[in-house]
Symmetry: C2
Subunit: 410 residues, 2 copies
Amino acid sequence: MALIVQKFGGTSVADPAKIKAVAERVLRTKKQGNQMVVVLSAMAGETNRFVDMAGQMQEQPDEREFDVLLASGEQVTIALFAMAVKGMGGDAVSLLGDQVKIVTDSVHTRARIKSIDTSLINKHLKENRIVVVAGFQGVTEADDLTTLGRGGSDTTAVALSAVLKADMCEIFTDVEGIYTTDPNVYAAARKIDRITYDEMLELASLGAKVLDIRSVGMAKRYKVPLHVRSTFTENDGTWVVEENKNMESMLVSGVTYSRNEARITISKIHDIPGIASKIFTPISDAGVVVDMIIQNTRAGEMTDMTFTVPRTDYKKAMDIVRNLDIAGPDQVSGSEEIIKVSIVGVGMRNHSGIATTMFHVLAREGINIHMISTSEIKVSCVIDEKYTELAVRALHDAFSLEKDNQPEEE
Amino acid sequence: MALIVQKFGGTSVADPAKIKAVAERVLRTKKQGNQMVVVLSAMAGETNRFVDMAGQMQEQPDEREFDVLLASGEQVTIALFAMAVKGMGGDAVSLLGDQVKIVTDSVHTRARIKSIDTSLINKHLKENRIVVVAGFQGVTEADDLTTLGRGGSDTTAVALSAVLKADMCEIFTDVEGIYTTDPNVYAAARKIDRITYDEMLELASLGAKVLDIRSVGMAKRYKVPLHVRSTFTENDGTWVVEENKNMESMLVSGVTYSRNEARITISKIHDIPGIASKIFTPISDAGVVVDMIIQNTRAGEMTDMTFTVPRTDYKKAMDIVRNLDIAGPDQVSGSEEIIKVSIVGVGMRNHSGIATTMFHVLAREGINIHMISTSEIKVSCVIDEKYTELAVRALHDAFSLEKDNQPEEE
């Protein structure tokens, strides 16, 4: 008998018929002799409806009240889901974030989980019920409702898996799993059967949207085996697991890209101690997250500084830089027409030449590299946006990702 | 400085624009130097939407889960309302039933309040906030959500008024107050300025729909001055208050009627001890509430028994009676085409002849009386349904209800 946590997102529970279909599926897994904890999001569309109504109330909706509003969405789905299970002859009980006692800090709209009380869930599991938990929500020690922000229901599912010591955490979504690259960009993209937490972390941080980075990090920390799979098929999806020896033969697991990039360059500034701090402190104070930074040495005392920011923050960052007292208007330039393409793979650790191959492939296609950033298991290059698809396809082919280069395992 | 509890029903908060209008009104009363507690229902239409979805999940929706589902409705309105107040520069905080600790018994969908913790509300009032409480909902000692059933938000408002020792409890609705009779039936109906708890209890139990009888009973018990008024005007509505000397000059306060009536007659049965028990025990066991009972003595050992039940339970009650082993099929008759018309007034206590006037008026109009029931402050007659409007108008005129027969007070 396994203890399985299953999470279904908003598109999987978008209407009563879909909720019933999911309930039937969960009940089937239960009947195979498993203990089941189900984590649900709000019905797709509800959040937009709430955001719209809140916007009519207050220009910048109060965050405490916004959380109260949003949390009502999961309350609806867990109640309907529990009814659906009972309607099919099963037994289920719905639990809200505050009933489980998913205690968070008090940072509304993006709270972090501090502790989870497992006693009520374990009681219901022992009584053979399917436990249906509201995703995305928690409660502060002062009993205020909170929500967990982007990817919040995934976080709930992984956190519950960790504290309950579940055998697996299954994240159901509208795609079949994690792909070697975006199938919309390159049809040769292949579903990955198995990937390490570290690779998944890099993929998530570099633009892959299926799993939120916070959930992956938590899964890694607590060694929760994650299974990302489709709500609409019975096929196995992608397992996100701990690294093992067999996996090291994978050189590159995937190619990913992010369009949310913009570049700012300040040229010919005086290269004096403290110049970086002078530039980046006000940017960071404004809440803009700087990604890559490159400083080129010029002859003499002058230097060029180039960095990337989220495209959505480009104008804000540009204004800050222009108002700095370090460069004239003609020394500041930038572009919103760049993207970051990355290759990720744990195999890079033990194989030299992966980065070189990437640079060579891009050069062969006539794609100029503006910036490079590397870590132990990834290489990222900033290139012109118009080359996105070309670069993804060329790299996917060069590393033979269309072939299953993963060893068979247990 | 007064402490005022104001309750707004679903039609008053049916959409974002209405919620803002109500917020503005509450804020205005706050700015006049009052402490404000606001109790809100779910947006009109939400409950129907929930009932519909629940019905798709399970033929007879699980009551615990149904309460979880329904309770999400008020959660939406209190959050939006608090945002609206803040958007207008005021300060407000929303509180759910379980946050206030409105503790109820565990009879789902029609729970009764056992206790309310005032500490959190008082804390926020002291900090000068408008406290926005979700109506209709509570929480059991085991931390399960409950709802209070019909008129639940009124009950929340009156109960909060009682424990907070509020100066008044204002129930906002889509009519101007309590009328001498149904204005849809007789345009001469007049809004009553002031009425006693006892009269209101009779009116509510005899068919008037504006206030639920449970809230009125609670208001009487805790001496909460109730003010029933319109959301859409600034006019005073109807005050429901304790009886005082001046009021005794009112002979009749109102004429009301109920169409949810049906009559069953069992004729020529043996008048032996225990016959009433034999008839009414199975009916009561089936959950049917019998209202009026009349037993006519016949010559010899035979008797006729007539009683009324809610029209919605007529068929159920008929089946039970037919299956009793006391009367043949031709001895059982009944009608769904009857109504109960009633006059209510505390003045009856000290004035004889009120009932006689009623009988005389009905007779003059050619209306046959099937059954009569009286209490200290009301007289009810069962008549044929086709005479409803005629009877209401004739009685309204006979007691001059179109004139304000209430004395001026303070």
